[in-house]
Symmetry: C2
């Protein structure tokens, strides 16, 4: 499936208000221009992840948009999702590629130059890197230190992979983030908790 990182929704079903609301948010966000969706539900057991992923796939497929699973390769395999996004402490990229196969989309979180340099050695083992957090964010209390907008620009320029910026990105700072050159922006609460997720997606998409 084609990879377009322009507007990357990290779907947190708890922030959305549960399974049914997460589907509503996704439907609206896809209509608003989201180009890739990642399911990330750290508080949930895997059976709930699987059930939501199976309900999300018909929606994302209708838009030709990939559905990525955070961390859990087994959920991705069970659901037949399009790929996974892994962090530095999750199962390593070579394991993900081996278990998911050549067609899967695999993203890796990087937060500093050392991690970008290592990611650069991975070649086609991964498809993109998530760079951040750009800003401090309450969503991931265990996240690395924020790199800021200038740091983001430097890390994206250093990367040989496609890049998506993540961490604290909202409508008011989206244009400034885009200006330093990431391949796209990833948002969580800016869409998941929006009163009108379709409008939020469209505004984030158009921000420049």
């Amino acid at each position: 499936m084609d990879l377009d990182l322009a507007l990357y929704l990290v779907l947190d079903p708890v922030q959305c208000g549960g399974h049914a609301r997460a589907l509503d948010v996704t439907r609206a966000a896809l209509a608003g221009g989201v180009t890739i969706v990642q399911l990330r539900a750290p508080e949930w057991h895997k059976r709930a992840w699987l059930e939501l992923a199976l309900d999300l796939l018909p929606l994302t497929r209708r838009y030709g948009v990939p559905l990525i699973i955070n961390d859990h390769l087994d959920v991705a395999l069970a659901a037949g999702a399009d790929g996974v996004h892994i962090g530095q402490n999750d199962l390593p990229p070579d394991v993900a590629r081996k278990l998911l196969g050549a067609q899967a989309l695999i993203g890796l979180s990087v937060s500093d130059a050392l991690q970008v340099d290592h990611a650069n050695t991975l070649g086609a083992m991964i498809d993109y890197v998530g760079v951040g957090p750009v800003f401090d964010t309450p969503t991931k209390p265990d996240a690395s230190a924020a790199c800021g907008i200038d740091g983001l620009g430097a890390l994206c320029a250093r990367s040989l992979h496609q890049t998506v910026a993540i961490g604290g990105i909202q409508l008011h700072n989206a244009a400034a983030v885009k200006r330093v050159g990431p391949g796209g922006i990833a948002v969580v609460s800016a869409i998941c908790t929006a009163v009108d997720p379709q409008l939020a997606a469209r505004q984030l998409h158009e921000a420049s």
Copy 2:
């Protein structure tokens, strides 16, 4: 690999004191008569699970003892472990069997008659059930209500699968638990925090 549930070590590496100590505990516990080992590290990221599983396998293989991974099918696949143990909210048994194959050992937690009855319909999809918690335990704050020793006996009698009792089992109650007929007993802290894990395993094994 043969399934002998007689003395089932649930290895919690945090209780043991980290990766290296977990290996020491396992080595001693195997020498003391443990017949099956499950890795369960809910506080750990998966890369740490994988690294420990890869170090555990040569030890368990030397004793012909299966290494089972709690919950994470992807860790089991990545490590080449012998099977998984899943709870009622984890990925379902049919998914585990499909992803892990016919040879894998698959255990399922059950805590009441309804769950035993459902497990009975699964046939060879699973290899055994873990029945409990027998007693209340601080190790799993989200666990179901304790079934007690009489409840354990009834649930084991009701099961068509091999059974292992779990939850709050220590040396002082091991004999009473064994008397009601489970296929074995599973312990966490009774071995992981023992001053002498080999002695603890031998005493648990011999308790009658």
